[in-house]
Amino acid sequence: MEKHDVVCPYCGAGCKFNLLVQDGRVVGTEPLKGVTNDGELCLKGMSGYDFINDTKILTPRLLHPMIRRHKGDPLERVSWDEALDFTAKRMQAIIDAYGPDAIMTTGSSRGGGNEVNYVMQKFTRACIGTNSVDNCART
């Protein structure tokens, strides 16, 4: 069994534990002596890992890029190239027509991590040209 150390993705306490992996699937957790949790975990930290495995108990994981070619069209799976070209073209058209402040982006205060948040705000500021990037700290 493999073990990989992680930080809990739920509350802001910052508990450290190992994810236990068997045959490419996460099968359990094991608390570590992190600075805040000191070898302890709560219910969510202990049992909140198997959503990664796409259990479809509540709602499915997203596994492929999808677009609606026109507002109201059904979703359509496309290649990454097509999804990103479509998005880039549409965003650029909005900047050209209304200016960069017509676009708002968000960071994520959940599983992504600080590096993604850094990249998102850099994209928003240096590429789009607006400071309208926020996160869910207000809710």
Binding site: V7, G34, K44
Partner: protein, 580 residues
């Protein structure tokens, strides 16, 4: 401003609008340990929360009274002779003006608003202000999600200063963060007024610095603050906002007034969702970009107490999922601003160079259970557990400014038609919009739509409601069904609902009112009414059907991803071929 481990070494822990056993069980355990070590525990909360059971003093405050309560507490600290005159003299400004407001707030004068007897107010002042070696005020959303939220934080800070319970180890304020990386997304500059490291976007020197580092002309970086997330709805409605790129959030479930949010999303020219799940928000997206999940990538989170910690990937990405930083970099490149990184460490190191307070937080220091609590300005630095050491504050003269405000009532007061206060809260087994915990086998056993509305026995009796029955709750925004949970730990005149239920969705009812500065919604206070559903059997069938329909709708939206592009292409070409 203290660390989470440090909480157990304080002489007094005062919880104000914070229920740690539901929202941060591991912090709650630290408070139990503090109690075992002899700390006094004060809990001020309208509900008799878990920590109230071990409190030396429990203050059952009325909903929406925060500033009135704190002003009266400050009034007692001063009038009862517990003010730390030396600290006020040496480390603060504005005392005289502050006292002009506070002196009016005797505990007697606001007892109708706070619900707290003068005797208990005096006891609280003494217990908090005289605690040795230090006292900590832990506050959460009970402070932040109120009309006077920022003003309440000013008031709390002044209370700590006047009592001299700040600027020494294990003291001051402990503002807890709800989600695991709220602190981190703020640290990284996902704020409309701040570059990474809390460097102001309106400061020309900072714009210059970031423009140079990012290789763009300084004019490219906007010189004015951006819009806030809670402005999204009205900006979309008035036609100012045309594109919303939503990364990892589910505003339909978690922002106030769900129906208003949905209508606004539909008005956008382009709505992009980068997420790991099909959610009630993602289903309205024009573009869906599947990122990797926690467990499939590495990175750094910041805990509530400013502690950076590194986390690893455990399993490979599913399907075609890509790391979020790769998706965003690729998009940026296609839009004419090339971004390329080989790994997260490269990103982290670029960020460290630009943020003096984070510079010493290297990946190496965070290996295993290593951690870095910022400010950590140099490679040799060990990190900072307590802010404002020696009472030195972040002001040019190093002195804290004491600010007092008058109490104002919440925006939507109960009336004859809507006589109950609706307050949204947390619970231990599920998280936020529930897309993660609801997909975990063990935790899903705790999922029980339509969820619960917690109420006092008197309010239940007055409406003929019995524990466990389905009730209808409605406000000026909407109407939902939920299940009654009747308990005398709940105060009379208020009902409490948690965020995560999809059918009993509290945000279909909440008010989208925000304060002027922070734009945080007033999720802790709006007005509602409820009634027992006469036909309980029909109600049970109805909520079960609604839940099944909603899950089926999300699954159907997501099923588009099961059709490979080539197949979709030939299917769409079929009629043409027939014509040929």
């Amino acid at each position: 401003m203290c660390s989470i481990p440090g909480m157990e070494n304080a002489g007094c822990v005062f919880l104000f609008g914070y229920n740690p056993s539901a929202s941060h069980p591991i912090v709650a355990r630290r408070i139990v340990r503090a109690k075992e070590k002899g700390a006094k525990i004060i809990v001020a909360d309208p509900r008799h929360i878990e920590t109230a059971r071990i409190a030396d003093l429990y203050l059952p405050i009325k909903n929406g009274c925060n500033i009135a309560f704190l002003n009266a507490l400050a009034n007692c600290i001063v009038n009862d002779g517990y003010a730390d005159k030396d600290f006020i003299e040496a480390h603060t400004n504005g005392y005289e003006q502050w006292w002009e407001t506070i002196k009016k707030y005797t505990p007697e004068s606001v007892q109708d608003i706070t619900g707290i007897s003068p005797a208990d107010m005096h006891r609280a002042a003494e217990m908090y202000a005289t605690a040795e070696p230090s006292a900590i005020i832990g506050y959460g959303m009970g402070v932040c999600q109120q009309r006077q939220n920022l003003k309440t934080v000013h008031t709390l800070a002044a209370v700590a200063c006047v009592a001299g319970q700040i600027g020494k180890p294990n003291s001051g304020l402990a503002p807890v963060r709800g989600q695991n990386n709220v602190q981190g997304s703020c640290d990284m500059g996902c704020l409309p007024n701040m570059f990474p490291g809390y460097q102001k976007v309106t400061d020309p020197a900072m714009r210059e610095k970031f423009a140079k580092a990012w290789g763009v002309p300084v004019e490219k970086l906007s010189d004015h603050e951006g819009y806030k997330l809670t402005d999204m709805v009205h900006l979309a409605n008035e036609g100012t906002l045309h594109c919303f790129y939503n990364y990892g959030e589910d505003p339909v479930q978690t922002e106030p007034d769900s129906q208003g949010t949905i209508e606004a999303l539909k008005k956008l020219d382009l709505f992009i969702c980068e997420d790991i799940f099909m959610t009630q928000t993602t289903m309205y997206a024009d573009v869906i970009l599947p990122g990797t999940s926690w467990g499939e990538h590495e990175g750094v989170f910041t805990a509530s107490d400013r502690t950076f910690q590194h986390f690893n990937a455990a399993v490979p990405p599913k399907g075609e999922c890509r790391h979020d930083w790769q998706i965003i970099s690729d998009l940026s490149t296609r839009m004419g601003y090339p971004m390329h990184y080989d790994n997260t460490k490269q990103i982290w190191d670029e960020m460290r160079q630009l943020c003096p307070n984070f510079y010493g937080a290297t990946y190496e220091k965070m290996e295993g259970t290593g951690h870095c609590e910022w400010p950590i300005p140099t490679l040799e630095h060990q990190g900072t557990a307590d802010l404002f050491p020696g009472g030195h504050f972040n002001k040019p003269d190093g002195r804290a400014v004491l600010i007092a405000h008058d109490w104002e009532h919440p925006t939507e007061m109960p009336d004859e038609e809507y006589p109950l206060v609706l307050c949204t809260v947390r619970e231990v087994g599920h998280y936020s919009c529930r897309s993660m915990t609801g997909n975990c086998k063990a935790l899903s056993l705790l999922a029980d739509e339509p969820g619960y509305v917690h109420m006092n026995p008197a309010d239940a009796r007055a409406r003929g409601i019995r524990d466990g029955e389905i009730v209808r709750i409605w406000s000026r925004r909407g109407s939902v069904y939920s299940r009654a949970d009747v308990s005398d730990r709940i105060n009379k005149g208020a009902v409490y609902m948690t965020y995560q239920w999809w059918i009993g969705r509290c945000n279909s009812l909440t008010l989208h009112a925000v304060d002027d500065v922070s734009h945080t919604p007033e999720d802790k206070f709006s007005a509602c009414q409820m009634e027992r559903v006469a036909d309980q059997q029909w109600a049970e069938r109805h909520v079960a059907q609604e839940y099944a329909d909603l899950k089926a709708r999300l699954a159907k939206e997501a099923s588009a991803q099961d059709v490979e592009p080539a197949v979709a292409f030939s299917a769409s070409q079929e009629p043409d071929r027939i014509l040929v």
